[in-house]
C-alpha cells in the first residue's frame, strides 16, 4: 500500500460517532414514533410515580425545614430519571444507586420505600436493611458505587447469570477516578452494566462546564471502548429506550453502556445548600420549561388518557400515601445504642467485649445524668 506523502506525517486513524435519544419535546409532542413499550398503561404508571416522587420530595424538604429530618437531597426536576430506572429494571437486576434516586426507590424498594428513605436521611441505619437483597444501599462517597456495580456485574458474569447491573451517578461524579476506572474495566471485561449519569448540570455549586471540557459526558465512553449515548433526561421515554437498548447489548454479550441523561437540578443541592448563591433565577426559570412532569402530563392530555379530575385524585392519593409513610417514619423508634455494634462483624470478636462494657458505663451516665 502506498500512502500519499504529507508535510506533517498525519494520517486519519479513527472516527467515532455519538447519538442522542429523545421522543418528546418540551411541550410533550412526539419527535419520534411512539415506542413499543410506551402503552397507555405504561405512560400512566410513569406519570403517577413521577408525581408521587415530587410530592414525596416536597414533603421531605418540609420535614427537614421543620427539624424532623436531616440534610436531604431533593430530586426535584429529575423525576423522569428515577422513575425510568424503576420501570426499566427487572426485579432481579442489581441496582446500585447514588443518593438522588428517590424515584427508582419508590418503584423498587417495596411498600415502605418512602419511610425507609426518610429513615435514611433521618439518620437511622435500619433504612438500608430493606429493599431487594441484591441492591446496594445509598452511596455517599462520590463515584465509588460505580466500581461496586462493575464488581457486581463481574460476579453475575462469572456465575453465568442473565441479569443486568445498573448504577447511577451525577455529572460531578464522572470526574472522579472511580468512574473512569470502572468504565474502563466494564469495557475490557464486557460487563453487563449500565452506567446512567444524572447530568443535572451542577455538582453542588460547580456547573457542568467547569467539571469537564468535553461536549458531552456520553463521550467518556469512547476512551473505554464502551458504547455511549446521550438522552433527554426530562423525557422518561428516552431514558427507558436507552436502558432497553443497553439491556439488549448486554444480553448479546456486547458489554456495558454509558448513558448520559440531560436533566436539571431544579432545587438546591441539598437542604444544606442555597443555590441562589451560585446560579441565577433566570436560568432556573428556563429549566422549569423543560421539566419532565409537565411534559408527560401534556402528552397524557393529548392522548386523552388524563384529565383534571384524575390529576386531582392523583395528587390526593400521593399526599395520603406520603403522609402515611411520614407517620411510619416518625413513629419508628431509634435503634438501641448497643445496636452500633450489632453488625460490625458477623462473628463477634471477644476482644471487643470491653467496648460493650464501656458503652454500658456511658449509658448509665447518660441515664443518670438526665
Amino acid at each position: 500500500m502506498t500512502r500519499a506523502m504529507t508535510d506533517s506525517g498525519h494520517r486519519p486513524l479513527l472516527d467515532f460517532h455519538l447519538e442522542s435519544i429523545q421522543f418528546l419535546d418540551e411541550s410533550g409532542a412526539w419527535l419520534a414514533n411512539r415506542p413499543g413499550f410506551a402503552s397507555d398503561n405504561w405512560l400512566l404508571k410513569a406519570y403517577r410515580y413521577m408525581v408521587l416522587c415530587r410530592v414525596f420530595d416536597h414533603k421531605a424538604v418540609a420535614l427537614q425545614r421543620t427539624g424532623q429530618l436531616g440534610t436531604f437531597p431533593s430530586a426535584l426536576g429529575q423525576e423522569a430519571f428515577g422513575v425510568a430506572i424503576g420501570l426499566a429494571l427487572h426485579k432481579d437486576d442489581v441496582f446500585v444507586p447514588y443518593y438522588r434516586d428517590h424515584g427508582a426507590h419508590l418503584l423498587r424498594s417495596g411498600a415502605n420505600a418512602m419511610a425507609n428513605l426518610l429513615l435514611y436521611w433521618g439518620g437511622d441505619e435500619s433504612a438500608s436493611s430493606h429493599g431487594p437483597p441484591q441492591d446496594f444501599p445509598v452511596c455517599v462517597p462520590i463515584a465509588t458505587q460505580v466500581t461496586h456495580a462493575a464488581g457486581a456485574a463481574a460476579a453475575l458474569k462469572i456465575k453465568g447469570r442473565e441479569q443486568l447491573v445498573m448504577v447511577t451517578i451525577g455529572d460531578g461524579g464522572t470526574s472522579k477516578g472511580d468512574f473512569f476506572e470502572s468504565l474502563n474495566v466494564a469495557g475490557v471485561w464486557q460487563l453487563p452494566l449500565i452506567i446512567l449519569v444524572n447530568n443535572n448540570q451542577y455538582a453542588i455549586s460547580v456547573p457542568r462546564e467547569k467539571q469537564c471540557a468535553a461536549a458531552s459526558l456520553a463521550q467518556k465512553a469512547i476512551g473505554a471502548g464502551v458504547h455511549g449515548v446521550q438522552v433527554d433526561g426530562n423525557d422518561v421515554l428516552a431514558i427507558t429506550q436507552a436502558i432497553n437498548e443497553a439491556r439488549v447489548r448486554a444480553n448479546d454479550h456486547k458489554g456495558a453502556t454509558l448513558i448520559e441523561a440531560i436533566t436539571y437540578r431544579l432545587g438546591d443541592h441539598t437542604t444544606a445548600d442555597d443555590a441562589s448563591r451560585y446560579r441565577c433565577q433566570q436560568e432556573v426559570k428556563q429549566a422549569w420549561l423543560k421539566e419532565p412532569i409537565k411534559r408527560l402530563q401534556s402528552l397524557l392530555l393529548d392522548l386523552k388518557i388524563w384529565d383534571g379530575e384524575q390529576e386531582k385524585a392523583l395528587l390526593e392519593s400521593c399526599a395520603a400515601s406520603v403522609e402515611s409513610q411520614v407517620q411510619h417514619y416518625l413513629q419508628t423508634p431509634a435503634a438501641s445504642p448497643q445496636s452500633m455494634f450489632d453488625h460490625l462483624y458477623a462473628d463477634w470478636p471477644e476482644a471487643m467485649n470491653e467496648q460493650l462494657d464501656r458503652l454500658a458505663d456511658k449509658l448509665e451516665r447518660i441515664d443518670g445524668g438526665s
Binding site: G123, S175, M352, Q355, G369
Partner: protein, 334 residues
C-alpha cells in the same frame, strides 16, 4: 504586609477565623492559592472560603472538578513550582483518595529530592461529628495521617488558635494537614486580632493549669474537657487542660512535664479509641512517667465501631461526663 481593606479585629468563631486567616495569607503572599470543590463561587460548603474569589479572582481561587486525589496531587504540583496551595477536602470522610498523593508525594518530595524540591501545601478539612450530618460527614481519622513521616497535623480548638495556626501552616515550608473541628465552627466566638501573627506548629497549649490531673485533648473535645475540669474543680480536683493542637510532630515535652507534676492523665479524643492518637500519647506518658504516674492513664474516645448515623451519634461521642468519670477513675485506682 497589611491590607488596608482588612479589619484589624474581628469577633467571630473558629470558622470566621479560618476565613480571616485565608484572607490575610492571600493578601500578604501572592503565591498562596486556594483550590477545592465549591471553594470559589460558593465560598465553600461551610463558607470557610467566602469572599476569596471576589478579592483574589478565579486565578487564585479555584473550583476543581470533583476528585480528592486530583485536588491533592494538583497541590503537590503547584507547590513544586513555588506556589503555596491551600486545598480543601470538603469533609474528612472523603479524604481517603487524597492519601496516595499526601503520603507518597507531599510527605516525601523534600526527602526524595534531598531538598531540591519541597511541598509547602496545606490540606484543610472539616472533621468530626455532632452536627447531625449524613453518613461519612462525621469522621475523625487524624491518627492515620499522624503515622506518616514528613507531614504536620494541626487541629485548632479556638478562633484565635485557628487563625494563628492556619497562618503558620500556610507559611510552613512543608505539607500541613489542618483539621477543623466543625462541631465548634460556630460555637464560642472570640475577638480575633487580624495581625498576621502565626502560632508555633510544634507546641501544645496549656489552657488551664492544675496540679492534680492532666487532661489532654484537642479539637472539638476541648470545650467538654474544659467543662469536665470545672466539674472536677467543684470536687476539689485541680485539672490541667492541655490542647495538643499540633498532633504531629507531637510536643510530648509539654504533656510529660504536666503529667510528671500531676501524676494522673486522661486523654480525650473523638476518634475511635483503638490505634488512635490517644494510644501514642498514652504509651509515651506511661513509658516516660513510669515512676510519676499514680494511676493508669485513661483514654476517652469514640467506640471502635463506625460513627452511628446521627440519631445515635451522641452515644458515640465522648462527653464531659465521660471525661469526669475517667478522671475520677484515676483517683480510685491509685
Amino acid at each position: 504586609m497589611a491590607d488596608h481593606n482588612m479589619p484589624q479585629q474581628v469577633e467571630g468563631g473558629l470558622l470566621d477565623a479560618v476565613n480571616l486567616a485565608l484572607h490575610y495569607a492571600m493578601a500578604s503572599d501572592d503565591s498562596v492559592v486556594v483550590l477545592g470543590e465549591d471553594v470559589a463561587t460558593n465560598g465553600g460548603v461551610f463558607r470557610a472560603t467566602v469572599g476569596l474569589k471576589e478579592k483574589f479572582g478565579f486565578k487564585r481561587v479555584m473550583d476543581t472538578p470533583l476528585a480528592e486525589a486530583l485536588i491533592t496531587g494538583l497541590a503537590v504540583g503547584m507547590a513544586s513550582q513555588g506556589l503555596k496551595p491551600v486545598c480543601e477536602i470538603q469533609f474528612m470522610g472523603f479524604i481517603f483518595p487524597a492519601f496516595e498523593h499526601l503520603f507518597c508525594h507531599a510527605a516525601r518530595l523534600r526527602n526524595r529530592t534531598r531538598g531540591r524540591m519541597s511541598c509547602p501545601m496545606v490540606l484543610r478539612a472539616p472533621y468530626g461529628g455532632g452536627i447531625h450530618a449524613p453518613e461519612h460527614h462525621s469522621e475523625s481519622t487524624e491518627a492515620l495521617i499522624a503515622h506518616i513521616p514528613g507531614i504536620r497535623v494541626v487541629v485548632p480548638s479556638s478562633p484565635a488558635r485557628a487563625y494563628g495556626l492556619l497562618l503558620a501552616a500556610i507559611r510552613d515550608p512543608d505539607p500541613v494537614v489542618f483539621l477543623e473541628p466543625k462541631r465548634i465552627y460556630r460555637t464560642s466566638k472570640q475577638v480575633i486580632n487580624n495581625d498576621g501573627v502565626a502560632l508555633p506548629l510544634d507546641r501544645c497549649f496549656t489552657l488551664r493549669q492544675g496540679s492534680d490531673i492532666s487532661l489532654i485533648s484537642w479539637g472539638a473535645c476541648i470545650p467538654d474537657t474544659l467543662l469536665a475540669a470545672d466539674v472536677l474543680q467543684q470536687q476539689g480536683i485541680a485539672a490541667e487542660v492541655i490542647d495538643v493542637a499540633t498532633i504531629k510532630p507531637l510536643d510530648m515535652h509539654t504533656i510529660l512535664s504536666s503529667v510528671v507534676t500531676t501524676g494522673r492523665c486522661v486523654i480525650i479524643h473523638e476518634a475511635a479509641r483503638s490505634f488512635a492518637v490517644g494510644a501514642e500519647i498514652s504509651a509515651q506518658v506511661s513509658e516516660h512517667c513510669f515512676l510519676n504516674l499514680l494511676a493508669p492513664v485513661q483514654r476517652v474516645g469514640g467506640f471502635d465501631t463506625h460513627m452511628p448515623y446521627f440519631k445515635n451519634e451522641h452515644y458515640y461521642l465522648p462527653n464531659s461526663a465521660d471525661i469526669v468519670a475517667a478522671a475520677l477513675r484515676t483517683f480510685k485506682e491509685s
